[in-house]
């Protein structure tokens, strides 16, 4: 095993003319390519999510997470509050679960301070925003250490917010961000260590697990397969109530949330028009295959509950070939739905495409609630 700093000078400039016909390709070429591949695979992780304006609730706020790769080892967690009236208190408790039924509770040493249900005193409102937006907790996750327990591929972050003292202060936001790597490690799945390359040497084939041209292509493939996140919604507690996006419709309909309290600015995934429709999200789509209406393979899942028995169906509409994409037969909950294969087109101006989510119920169900949505790339 050997390690070195990961592209400490940043991504290199690459030139076609660096490898002309008739000239020998030697280690400096491989080193430049390796730095570029290392930057793409290790310094540009694909997953980040944020939960906004969390009111205290006995039910958790849940977000879905699928690790970029086994070579992305760390994530940063932060929560903030926006000061309100006078001194009050907040607690944030984190439990992480996986798709195999395993869990890591906040009491574990892998969960950082600030997310262990400690009581944090929140200062009063000053009217000076730079003073009123305050950090409640910051910590780092060792994803490898968590993966020793959480062996399932898809994880679920569950945050429970409590207000032991006070009546109004809320958590302004929770941010979770995978972090760029600082080190290339030949023992990991991706990353090409260049220390042992003598500039005068020819390129050697090596192996996918160690060094050389094969390891370069292994790392390049890691960059291709990062499965970038396009949608990460989770700003509603898993509560079967009107403040959680829901529908009682037996035909395709938007999921509508109402204000938790009159006069409260709230969040939803419908468009709020007189006759509500699904909110239309727009974003830039990474082009891996080619610029095309067929677009990039993605997948979506929903954290839901069906009330009254029966089942729910979910539909994602995009600009890609095959849209809308439909998931049927989802029952029970609260739980994550099956993955729904979708695609996002890359042929739009500036590679922009849109997505929207609708649902319907069947078989005697009275409502379906959705508190979180995860939409990631699914490049094969």
């Amino acid at each position: 095993m050997s390690t070195e700093p990961c592209a400490p000078l940043g991504a290199p400039l690459l030139f076609y003319a660096a490898t002309p016909t008739g000239a020998v390709v030697r280690s400096p070429h491989l080193i430049a390519w390796a730095h570029a591949a290392n930057v793409c695979a290790l310094r540009r992780p694909a997953k980040r999510f944020q939960i906004d304006r969390l009111r205290p609730s006995a039910d958790p706020y849940v977000v879905g997470y699928t690790r970029t790769s086994t070579s992305i080892n760390y994530a940063r967690l932060r929560w903030f509050y926006l000061a309100d009236t006078a001194y009050e208190e907040l607690q944030v408790d984190l439990t992480i679960r996986d798709s195999a039924g395993n869990s890591v509770a906040s009491s574990a040493t892998t969960i950082p301070a600030g997310f262990k249900n400690e009581t944090r005193t929140c200062l009063g409102f000053t009217g000076i925003p730079s003073e009123d937006y305050r950090e409640g907790g910051t910590g780092y996750l060792d994803l490898d250490a968590l993966a020793a327990t959480l062996v399932g591929a898809d994880w679920s972050f569950e945050f429970t917010v409590t207000r032991p003292t006070g009546t109004v202060v809320i958590v302004d936001r929770i941010e979770i961000q995978e972090l760029p790597r600082d080190i290339v490690d030949s023992a990991e799945d991706y990353g090409l260590v260049t220390l042992d390359a003598d500039p005068g040497d020819p390129i050697f084939a090596g192996s996918v697990s160690q060094t050389g041209f094969r390891r370069l292509h292994r790392t390049l493939d890691g960059a291709r397969l990062v499965q970038r996140a396009y949608g990460a919604l989770g700003s509603w507690s898993a509560t079967s109530g009107t403040a959680t996006p829901t529908t009682a419709s037996a035909t395709w309909a938007p999921l509508i949330a109402a204000a938790p309290v009159a006069g409260f600015t709230y969040q939803s995934i419908d468009d709020g028009a007189g006759t509500p429709a699904a909110a239309i999200y727009q974003t830039r789509v990474r082009n891996i295959g080619a610029t095309a209406v067929a677009g990039e393979a993605c997948r979506a899942r929903f954290y839901y509950r069906v009330v009254g028995g029966g089942t729910a169906e979910f539909r994602v509409t995009t600009g890609a070939t095959g849209s809308p994409f439909t998931l049927t037969g989802q029952a029970g909950g609260w739980k994550w739905s099956d993955w729904l294969a979708v695609a996002l087109a890359t042929n739009g101006a500036s590679q922009l495409d849109t997505w929207k989510i609708e649902a319907q119920i069947a078989g005697g169900a009275t409502n379906v609630y959705v508190s979180a949505v995860q939409i990631d790339e699914n490049v094969a």
Partner: protein, 226 residues
């Protein structure tokens, strides 16, 4: 520019015992393979620098006025937004701190906040501001930091895209030790480093009345080419 193909030419590695050039010692590494390696990496360097940073549930039913009161109808600077809790009808928040990297041609990407919004009608105006400030710790914007702002009077849901060209002045170099978990340790595995910016959005509504609200729907923050 080494992204002329604007796609990946994916090649499957030969097996260990295979003889497929160019991945075996002793076989020729033709310039074509080298050019494709450059092309693929140039494409990935561009595509991986551009990504979705934030998606959220929006600000629905906001009615809080700007700091100038109900007569303020201009495209607001951040100082005109009342950064207040949502229980009094505000529409404001941090869109997070994000690492940003240059594109392969050396340019910094553009940050765009796209959303749909509408006003309450009745002669009222809504205004919104998108701001960026250097740093990775959720810092609030500073006077002089760049921002993009607009107003809207229609009651029809309308797409609006705010845009900020990122540059060194909007980014801060971050270098801090990563200390995972809650157990004390004597060795830190590695450092978090890079160029970071923090993004903010705020809006006002001249109505100041919870019966005449504005909506911000489906906000998405992403990086794209200049």
């Amino acid at each position: 520019m080494v992204d002329t193909l604007q796609r990946l030419i994916r090649r499957v590695l030969a097996t260990t015992g295979g003889t497929s050039a160019p991945f075996v010692d002793g076989e020729a590494l033709p310039s074509g393979a080298a050019v494709l390696a450059t092309s693929d990496l140039g494409h990935l360097l561009r595509e991986s620098a551009l990504r979705t940073l934030y998606s959220g549930g929006g600000w629905r039913g906001f009615y809080l006025q700007a700091t100038g009161g109900g007569t303020y109808t201009s495209a607001p600077p951040p100082s005109s937004i009342r950064w207040a809790p949502p229980r009094i009808g505000s529409a404001c928040g941090c869109l997070g701190s994000h690492w940003v990297e240059r594109l392969p041609d050396g340019q910094w990407p553009v940050a765009k906040l796209t959303l749909m919004w509408r006003g309450p009608g009745g002669g009222n105006t809504i205004g919104g501001v998108f701001a960026a400030t250097p740093g990775g710790d959720g810092q609030f914007w500073r006077p002089g930091d760049p921002h993009d702002a607009a107003t809207e009077t229609t009651t029809t849901l309308t797409r609006k895209t705010f845009s900020l060209q990122l540059s060194e002045s909007v980014l801060a170099a971050v270098r801090e030790p990563i200390q995972p978990g809650s157990a004390s340790t004597t060795s830190l595995p590695e450092y978090l480093r890079g160029a970071w910016a923090t993004f903010w959005f705020g809006a006002y509504n001249t109505s100041g009345n919870s019966a005449s609200v504005g909506d911000v729907v489906a906000p998405v923050l992403y990086l794209t080419t200049p």
